[in-house]
Every structure is written in C-alpha cells, then in structure tokens.
Subunit: 336 residues, 4 copies
C-alpha cells in the first residue's frame, strides 16, 4: 500500500484527493497547505488524511510517505520538486514545472541523479478520447501522420488578475496543446508560427495577453499541425483533435452529459459539451494518478516525464517569440 | 455518517462496495456472505469493512448499522427484507423483490408499517442518458407522450443453467424495461401484447425460454409503447430509448469508450457501445446509492419504491400470459 | 428513346414529370388529366409534352407511346391498368393498385397474360438510405435478421375529408411500411398484431380512423418486426429503419437539408429532417422511374411487382382486422 | 426563355449541361468545343443543343444566345470572356478567370463597361452545407466571427502532368478555400502565412509543387482563420468548415451516399463521404447556374463576381510568396 502526501489543497489538489478514493494500492497519508483554513483541515481528515499540516516539509520528513503530489502555486513547483526528490520521494508535479528552463533542468538533473519517479500533470494524455486517437495512430491505423489539428477552447476566461500572472495564453493554456501535439505526433516540433489576437475581452489585452490564437507547427517527423485556442466558447469546453495520415484519419470530439437528442420544431439538439476541465477530465485525473502509482510500484518510467514538461515550455517560448517577431521560429532557437 | 452493511458479496455486491468509496456521508461498516471465501473476506477488509461475517443476522443485530443493501440470491430478497425492516434497518434491495406477488406485498406492508426507507435496485433510472430523457419528458419539452420505444439487447446470453432458474426473459431481462417504460411514461401500463421467439440459441429454447421478444404496451395515459429485447447483440450492450410526443421527441443512445472516429478506406467508424451493464451503468450504480443515502438522510421517499418492484413483476407476468395465450393481456387481469 | 404518357397531373404526376427531365433514354410524349385546367396544359407543354388531353384513352390509343404512368385517383388505378395492359402499354402504377383483392388479381392476371412490365409505386425501396440497409442485409453483413424496426411519421396529418376516403391509416400510410418490412426482410409476414389510438387529432377519430399505431409482425423467415406510425411529428418527416441480426445491425436515419451543426449556449443543434415525402424522396422518385425504364428496355422484371402491391394490401387488411378483433391475425386468414 | 451557349465540352462543361436539364426558364441552344469528337457532338444533340460547332465565335455571333458558359481551358478564360462581353453576352466563367492580375482587371473593366452579368464558378458557395453555415453567420447566430477553419482534402492527387500546369496547390486547389474563407467571413483577408510540404507523393515535389498545406489568415474583420489542404484523403473528399464566434459555432461536415450505420463486432460504421467534387457538388453546380439565370432575368448582381475571382487569385499569390519567403505576407503587398 503506497502512502501519498499532497502539497497544496487548492482546486486541483482536491481533485486528486477525490481520485485517490477510487484507486487501489494507495492511500492518502498526509496533506499540507500553507493557508489551511479549518474547513480544509476538517475536510482532509474526513477524506482519510491522518496528518494535516501547514508545512509541507513535515511530509517530506515523514519516512512513511512514499510519494508526494505537488499541487501548490506554479512558482513553488521546481523548488519543492527538488526538496522532495532530495528527501527520496517520488514526485507527481502539476504542470508547468517552471517557466524557467534552467530551473526545469535542475529538476531533470535531480530526477536522473535520484532515479525516482517524476511525473508531470499533463492529464489530457490520459483522457479516453485523446488516448484512443493516440492509440489508433500508434497502431498505424492512419498510416504516416501528415496533418494534426487540435482545438482547445475554454468556456470562460479567467479574470485579469489571473491573466497578469499566468505567463500568457501560450504558457498557461496552449501548453496543454503543445504537449498534446507531441503526444499525438509521437515526436517534437521543429518549427512553429503563431498568430493571435484579442477578440474575447479587451481587458485581457490590457493585461498584456491575447485570448484567441492559431499556431501552425512543423513536427520533426514532417507532419504539419495546427492548434487553435479561444478563452471563451459559449457552448462550453471544446476539446477536439484529429490526426490525418496516409491511410486515414483518427479524430475525437467532446463528451456531453448525456446522449440525449431532442427533436422539436426548432431542430435536433444534443447537449452542450461537459462544462470545463473538472467535468471533462475527471477520468483523466484519476487515470494519471493510477499511472503514477503503477509506475512507482512496477518501477517503470513515468508516462509523462520532466522532459515532456521541458519541451512544452520551450514551445510556449517559441510561440511567444513568433508572435512578437512576426515570423516562424525554429525550436532550436530556444535553448535546450 | 451513515453506516451500511452489505448482504451478499457477489458481482453486484462488489459493484456497490466500489460505489460506496466515491460517496460522502456514508461508510461500509460490515459485509455478510454465506460462502465468504478467504479472498472475499480479505478484500472486504481492504475495502474498509470493519466486520466480515457469514451470517447476515449479525449485521441486522448491530445497532450501529443504519441500512443494509440486499445483494443475495433472488429467493432470499423478500425474507431478508422482512427481517431487516423488522430490525429497524433501511433497505436497498436488488431487483426483483420476489417473483411472488404475495411475498412482495408482505414486504410492502412491512415498509408501510415501519416507515423505513426501502429502495429497489432499478439502476437504469439513474443512468445519465435515460434520466436526461425522463427529465425532458417531465419538463414538458416533448408535449404529451404518444409513442415510447425501448431497445435493450445484451451482448451475450447467459448459460442454460442460469436461463432455467432466471424466471424467463420477461422476468429476468425485460423487467428492467418494464420499469423503464413506467419511468419514462410517468404512469402504469394498462395492457400489453408479447411476441417472442428463439432466434439466438436453440439451447435457450430447450431450457424453456425465448431469447428475442417484442412487447407492445398501452400505457394508462394513452401512450403506446414498444420494447424489444435480444439476448445477443454482437456489437455490444444496446440500451436506447425514445419518447415521442405532441411537441417533439427525446431519445438517447449508447455510451462508447470514447468519441474516436476512424475514417479509412473502409468507412467512418466509431467504437462499439460499452460492453455490458457493469461498464454502461457504473455511474448509475453509484447514483442509485447516492440517492438511497440522501433519501435516508433527508427523510424523503425512496426514488424507486417497493411498488415499482411490484408493478414490473406484474408486467412480466402479463407478458408471459400474453405469449402463452396469444392475446393482449390487461394488467388488471394480474392480481394487484 | 422510350415514349411515355402520364395519366393524372396531380402532385405525384408532376413529380414524375420533373424526374423524367433528368433521365436519359426516355421522354414525355403525352399527358392526360380529366380536369386539365389551362395552367396545367401550358405547364405540360413547357415540360415538353407534345400532346395534352383530358382523355387518357387517347394516350392508350397512341401507338407511339410505349408505357404509361398511372397517377390518377386510387379508384381508377385498377381499371386504367387493365385498359393500358390491354392496349399493350407497359404500366407504372401508383400505390395501391386497389383496396379490393379481386381487382388486384384481375390486374395481376392481365400482367401475366400480356407479359408487359408492370411496376407499383413503392418509391421508398429506391431511397438511398433504405436501399443501403437492404443491401447490407442482402450481402449478409448482419447475418440472419432477427428484429426489424421501422419508424414512419408524417410532419402533419391530412384533413378529415381526406382521412374519410383514405382507407384508413393502415391502408393509406402504413402500407408503405408493410412493403418496406417485406423488402428489408426479403420475405412475407406470417402474422401481425395491431395497436392503435387517436392521439394527434380527435377529428381523425371522428372520421373513423386512428392516427398513431404500432404493429408487431412475425415474418415468414422467423424475424420479429415492429412498425410505428404517427400522423404528426412536429420535427418533420421521420423515416428510419433498423435491421438487427445474428452478426450486427444495419440502420438508417433521416436526411436533413444540410450537415449544419450549430453550437450555442442552448446546445448543439442540427437541422430538422427534410420536411415531407416530396423533399425526402426526390431521388427515390427519379430512381424508381429509372428502374422502370431500365426494366422495359432490358426486358427484365420490374423491381416492384403487382404481387408486392397485393401483399401490402393484405397486410393492411390484417392490421385492420387485428385492431378490430383485438387479437393477432395470421396473414393466411386474409384471402390470397 | 433564356438561351445559353456552352464553350468547352470537357468534364465541367458536361456537368453544366446536366444541370441545365433540371432548370426552368433556360435552355441549351448551342455548344462549342475546339476538338468536338463525333461522340461529343452526338451527345450534345441528344441533350437538346440545336447547334454544335468547333468554333465558339459562332455562338458569340448568334443573336439568339443570351449568355455563355466558359468551360474551356484556363488560359482561354480571360480572352473569351472579353470577346463574349464585347458581343453582348452575359458570362458564366469557370474559375480562375486568369492567373494574371492585369488580365483579370481587363475582364473586370469590360464587365463594368458593358453592365452585363458576369459570374465566376466558385460552386462551393452554393453547396447546401457551406451555405447553411454562411447563413447562420450572416444571421448573427454565432455573434462576431473569431476563428474560421476550413478543411479541404481531395480523394486522390492529379497526375504530375496536370500538377506542372496547374499553377500549384494554392492556385489550383486552395483557391476554392480562399474564396470560401472570404464568403464565410464576409470580408477580405489582411494577411496570411503558409506552411506546406510534400507528404503525399514525391512526384508532386519533383513537379515543383507541394501536396499538403496549412495557411493561417488574419481577416479584415479581425477574425483568425486556418485552411488545411491535402491532395489525398483515402477516405474520400473531405470538405468541412467551422466558424466560431462570440455567440457560438456553426460547422458543417461531409455528405455521404446514405445515412447507413452498420454496427458489427468491428464497430459502428458509417459510409465514407461522397467520392469527389462531381458527387459532392452536384446540387451546388445546379444552383450556381440557377443563380446565374436568375441574376440575368431579374437584373440583379451576380452572386459571385469577377472581384471574387480577383481576390482569391491574389490570396493564392500571397500564399506562394509566404511559402517562398518563409514569412507572413500582407495582402496589400500583392498588387490590387
């Protein structure tokens, strides 16, 4: 029975606690959160956490704890990762590891040195729809990939305060799609070109960001790809992809609350997609932890590595530069 | 925190144990099973059951236990229900309560006498798809219901041994659809006509049953309905419905493992439906327990009552008689 | 170049004139209609008819005319068929040949005697969707048929005046589905049971008819079948079928004006089905004539024969009797 | 009754002849083709052409002819357009008018001078699916357009000989999509960036062209857009679009031969899309001529103008330059 500690009891930390309840062979031992209001402490106890603390270092010092999930704020991901690895804990770290390549490399070095399991939280790789597409591609069912398309649109934008510290659309939102295009293609990007605009909310522009973007990519295997993002789709979270190749196309659509089809004088209507990531990716969040637990137990490599974390950050950097300089940017222009 | 006991550790009992792990406000206190092999006992402990026994009466005698789930063999449903109610326990009982109307009425009387919560395991009422259709009907979105169609086909037939003790297709399989048509229509059936045949496997005929059936119904609100059943759909569990009315139609289809769409030289193909009831109704099994717990806690009526259990058995009896006598049978020909 | 005459310039006669414009190897020579207002005569000339008359006998007397399409009122179908066959013309006759079995047999005898081509206007057999299902069944793709389901709902009911002379829902509307179930199954029905009601419009009941019906059938090959009809689906003409068998299921849905999918805050909506038979079956109407012309030219049997016309009328009679006598009726109870 | 002449009896000329048979108020008077084999002449007579000639100037000299359809080779489009306009004929000209902007402007000047109707053959604007999307956009159903996506893939590439004289993928194939993105957005493009590769067939690369491309655009109304093209989709002609805006998304998919859905042990499969443009755009080809005839008769502007022809050529030029110079190209860099 693997013993886990969770660092950070925000929205995503709580999602992981829920997921853990459904998994066998693992249990929540402790939870740390610097703020830890009474309500949170009570809730954590109810969820079975034997230990609840404001200081994550208590978890790292507990020899009974095998692994930690780092769900704290982005700026703490790298330093806590380093501490946890140094303490001999396996680490599941929410994305991104960091916005700074040097700090990411420090983590990667520590992972290599310690030989511990380190998994980055690119949950979408575990979504049943994206996974089915990837498996079709990997099985050769569409032949050689030639065109990859990813659509990713949020149901509503975050507030301007969040936008200001988010790192921008490419680092905060499209980073998931940068990882996805690598996952679907099975290789890195060689070059990309970014087009973007403020079409959803002028306040986002005033905060120095864009809210609508299209990025074209050339993958290392020669396939062309395109990602489009919007911060607001009024019909809900829109998460689709298609991989087109020499022998066919594998595509996936959205999940809806039900298969209800309502035919009336106004038309034939289905439900909107599931509202947002918490609804769409419930299964993916559980399965990424299942995979993490299984990798630790079976001593196999993590399914999403620190290098995956690195590459997606480099792609976000290239997209930013492309948008700034109005030209295609090769990935090798971004430091390894 | 509600304390539950489970009686019967077969397939469906284990499903409920899994579901309980995801629910708040309730915990598994004890599990009873007359056979209780070592493996099962160990598993139950692992799932958090403090007490594991071969004798369900120990659960009924435990004052800490608020409610029991009866998941034992069909013939024990009624007697254990009576004992549990007498012991002051709320009861969730798998369907059918019994094949005998007198025994069902004895349970109904006990429920009324004790005022305890008694819920029958018609899980499909909690399926997101059927529920969405029912809600559309109840909200008046399709006007007055006129035609109701239910398709229910299993991916593979049970063995002849099971068939022999099953009570027959109408009592064993279509009973779910009899409950569903009442749920969708919001009323009882007035009359029905059954047509059936042995088309899947002659061994089913030799065991005295049919494997393919169409039943036409007239509901008390005037709507016509039709149910079709097959014991074997090679493409998987086929569970669909439609309710057609004066203002439109609400229909639901199957769930698939993913939204993958594969376009090749052979066509544009989606995945088959989820394989069988354990896959299709995972969410429904959890939600029926959530509803049971909530009814107990909030002291509201059970969402599926003993009367629902009674009516579906009466419909199965009417269908048997219709098939035997080659004529439509009114429900009032079957004893209340 | 085959020369055709059309008898009857009503709605369906005009549909055939339109279809003829798109066909090679055939031309409209003459048109007869007992009323023939000026406007119709002018229109027929414009469509290329060299001869326009009130008297269909002029067409039958014209040796240049190879074949006639009988699109006049139902009661004239049989007598004009006999006259046309006697005059040596190939005949395409709108359904039904007649409501009287003796008169139908007289036509069948004449067809056999003359060896001329005689096709009945069951246009739906030529619809691309139903045909694709039939071809999948005939190709063995679904194995042995076990369950056949046909849904057929009109967008709006005819007026009470029409209802009174229509022969009733089974003879006027479901007759198409009786033919379809034979087409899909590839055999005749052995027995059927009819359930029906007045749910759409009390005026239809006052006119002595029903407007909603479900008919269950047992086909001669052992398959069970069910047909449902409604005189009013507010979302438009609903024409679907499915054939379920030992190796799978072939199903077809409705055609819509476009594949438009509109996702908004209200849902994900497609267009309603094409409004009614003129829209849905445009292609089928052209293809049944193409088939007729081809059968004449190639001296092959008509794809829809007078016997097809006979069997569907017998089924409508059986359905009427079943509804009246509240019991299943064997087809062999209806005179051959 | 409008009298038409057709210049060019190749594949597309013959499509128009077929379409004309279904239209009211217009007839084919004459056909000219420089090669005119016997078989073609006979066919044209059969289709009702009173006059058949090798010299298109005979058509231009015939005062009975109101309008001509120019379906000859691309290099003759502009000169014959000029002659026809000078002869006072309305002109329907297949796309592109020319690859040379000066020659296109000469035609535009002549159109303005003569006041005659001049329509360019961008047939896809008349396709029921694209039109439904455009109408939803124009009706404001999706709010302000923000992202437009067009997928256009051929089922098989043309031979290298054709590729060599085609003007390249952007001028020969994507030109339809350049027109479509203007149609859907309701405005011109401001800037574009082209990415392309040879992934389908090295012979296409050897012929100096690409076979796979993604072009990102910025429209004058601020919307971003992306077009992807492939010369070979093994599952058939893939013609889809979506327009995403502040209030929703309108999307359209492919047409298939039928709505057949085959569920077997291998999955749930639909038919492939209609094979190629002749199958997919049959209705669009007829409707563009209906629109041309109607514009002449009603003296209204053509629905697709010479300026539409000009703009799409300019966009193809910009795409070529972008690909060559590896940078985004503003449309105002291309001469008006």
């Amino acid at each position: 029975m693997l013993q886990l500690g969770i660092i950070g009891a925000g929205r995503i930390g709580r999602v992981h606690v829920q997921s853990l309840r459904t998994l066998d062979g693992v249990r929540l031992k402790a939870l740390a959160d610097p703020f830890l209001p009474e309500e949170t402490a009570a809730w954590a106890k109810e969820q079975g956490a034997a230990q609840v603390t404001k200081d994550y270092r208590e978890l790292l010092a507990d020899p009974a704890i095998d692994a930690v999930l780092i769900c704290s704020s982005t700026d703490t991901h790298a330093p806590i990762s380093l501490e946890a690895l140094a303490a001999g804990k396996h680490v599941f770290c929410e994305k991104p590891i960091d916005h700074d390549l040097v700090r990411i490399h420090a983590v990667m070095d520590a992972v290599e040195r310690t030989g511990l399991c380190y998994q980055v939280g690119f949950n979408r790789r575990f979504d049943h729809n994206f996974r089915a597409v990837r498996q079709a591609v990997a099985a050769g069912e569409i032949g050689t990939p030639q065109l990859i398309k990813i659509t990713s649109r949020d149901p509503e934008p975050p507030g301007p305060d969040y936008i200001r510290v988010s790192g921008g659309l490419f680092m905060d939102m499209m980073i998931h799609d940068f990882d996805m295009v690598r996952y679907l293609a099975g290789c890195n990007a060689a070059e990309l070109y970014a087009e973007a605009a403020v079409l959803v909310d002028p306040a986002i522009g005033e905060a120095g960001d864009v809210d609508t973007a299209i990025v074209t990519l050339k993958m290392e295997n020669g396939a062309l790809a395109v990602i489009d993002n919007s911060r607001r789709a009024v019909y809900g979270y829109d998460q689709r992809c298609e991989v087109f190749g020499s022998a066919g196309m594998a595509a996936s659509g959205n999940d809806a609350p039900s298969t209800l089809q309502l035919s009336t004088a106004r038309g034939v209507c289905a439900e909107k997609p599931l509202w947002f990531f918490l609804e769409r990716y419930t299964q993916a969040y559980a399965d990424e932890l299942r995979s993490f637990v299984s990798a630790i137990t079976a001593r196999t490599p993590a399914e999403v590595t620190a290098d995956d974390g690195l590459q997606s950050v480099r792609m976000a950097m290239a997209a930013k530069r492309s948008l700034l300089e109005r030209r295609p940017v090769r990935l090798d222009e971004i430091p390894e």
